[in-house]
Amino acid sequence: MAEPLLEVRNLIRTYGGNRSLLGGARPVLHAVNDISFHVAAGETLGLVGESGSGKSTAGRVTLQLEPADGGSVRFAGQEITGLSPRQLKPVRRQMQMIFQDPYAALNPRMRVGSFVAEPLVVHGEDAHKDRIADLFRIVGLDPAFMTRYPHEFSGGQRQRICIARAIALKPSFIVADEPITALDVSIQAQIVNLFQDLQDQLGLAYLFIAHDLSMVRYLCQRVAVMLRGRIVETASVEQIFSNPQHPYTRSLLDAIPVPDPDRPRRKRLAFDVASNIPPREAVMAEIAPGHFVLQP
């Protein structure tokens, strides 16, 4: 089997712990605790878990926006943990991130045209107006907006601007960190469609982060479910929806809103995260081809 585009193994990221001045180490938080996953070229992997489970941290460390405290990240056959900023620069062309909060993701003091053009400028590519205009059109924005400042745009438009910036260098992999969570429900479907169109046109691979499973079914081929810094179940979308194994996965499935009001909603499984922290010694076991579950 050919090596996947992205291969993450035993990734660890901790916060706190370094001694403060007045003695006494702060407790260590394992935000990402020994997780492994892979993403093939052109594929979408959903990373799902409740807020605070470490999804964003996993995304940032995967992209080397902050250092890993352990484990390995291989991208296009190259180990990228521990690279210097200069060594990382060519890798950065290939991978991008889209953030949850489109209001914080744009520089309020920069014209959106310059913002979209910046990756091209940074990598010494032609950043001519026509090329930026093309990027605006691709994401469904009027190129005349180029000279405006972020505060003039709605959340959905801002997210399109971020997407235009992310695809400017024609990357092969994008981490989309809850890109629709902050948007109006009416806008969410448009943005999801844009993600899909871009994937078809550009052959992008996504790590699509979400806090519930509702959009994942439409967008992802495989899903990894995260709980308290660990991945508790990985499988194809069909397997997750038809044969969920981990109780946490089941509770996420039950939480999906039912579109048909006549159909009675399944009784929601109560899942108490606090009393279900995965034990340290738990290991993943393959219960079916490609379907892994964390065994207590």
Partner: protein, 284 residues
């Protein structure tokens, strides 16, 4: 801009401060064309003349004369030029250095941050006036040295506040996004951080302007500022204080000039801070 003025006109204190500030700058800029007497030449016959409105405008001394017969109004107006030049240059120099180092400390973090912040702590522990006196005494009282000393006492105020802003800015997604595209640290500091700390820097600058005007006056009061015969407000206070019982006008008017200018800057600075503060803004 229009919004700025409509907001300003709604605040009595802010507007008053703004008008005082404009008046001060206008007087300083227009001083040579106001038809005032030569501020450096006195006539011994007119020594210690009390304020008088008799006679025609150019000949009279509406604010009186000093101990060598120089027109006090003219000296105050011309003194505002010195004050504006010295305080303005010091605010700009301190602002540029302080903002830059504040951004560097906040963004680079680590050792750079620790060194810069220890420097700030050390300097905060030394009384500013003592520091200024030391430096001017060592280097001699020239205009450049006074500006340098005032800027030196000023950069730490910018550096501390800007650093705090940068600490929160650098966690913002657009800064992370800049890192994700491979932008260099310099680019991020100049293109993403700097434009977003200009507002707080400007607010610090107005507050610093007031403080620096007072300090400049104090330095010249002690004879370490601009050298005679060039007029400066602090110097006029120093020279006039000997005659306070016989010629009240020789200290009162320079003192008033300092007070009104500082008051104006402070009123305007306070308003400016509220104007730029999103919390008070949305409350309005």
């Amino acid at each position: 801009m229009r919004q700025f003025f409509s907001e300003l006109s709604r605040s009595k204190a802010g507007l008053a401060g703004f008008i005082l500030l404009v008046l001060f700058v206008a007087l300083a800029v227009l001083a040579p064309w106001l038809g005032l007497e030569d501020p450096t030449r006195g006539s011994l016959r007119a020594r210690m003349t009390a304020p008088t409105w008799d006679g025609f405008w150019p000949g009279a001394h509406p604010l009186g004369t000093d101990e060598v017969g120089r027109d006090i109004l003219s000296r105050i107006v011309h003194g505002s030029r010195t004050t504006l030049a010295v305080a303005g240059a010091a605010v700009v120099a301190g602002g540029i250095v302080g903002t830059f180092l504040g951004i560097l400390a906040g963004y680079a973090g680590g050792l750079t941050d620790r060194i810069l912040m220890r420097l700030v702590d050390i300097q905060l522990a030394i009384p500013l006036m003592m520091l200024a006196l030391l430096v001017v005494a060592a280097l001699g009282p020239s205009i450049q040295n006074v500006i340098m000393v005032l800027a030196l006492t000023s950069w730490i105020r910018y550096a501390r506040i800007i650093r705090g802003q940068v600490l929160s800015l650098r966690e913002r997604e657009f800064v992370q996004s800049a890192r994700a595209i491979g932008a260099s640290g310099w680019r991020i500091m100049l293109r993403h951080i700097l434009p977003n700390v200009m507002t707080p820097a400007l607010v610090v600058a107005t507050l610093e302007l007031a403080r620096i005007i007072v300090m400049d006056a104090a330095l010249s009061f002690l004879g370490l500022g601009v050298q005679p015969p060039n007029p400066s407000w602090g110097r006029m206070l120093a020279d006039g204080r000997v005659y306070i019982s016989t010629a009240w006008w020789s200290v009162t008017f320079p003192g008033l000039a300092i007070m009104l200018t500082v008051l104006g800057v402070n009123l305007f600075g306070d308003w400016l801070r509220d104007y730029f503060d999103p919390k008070t803004r949305s409350a309005r």
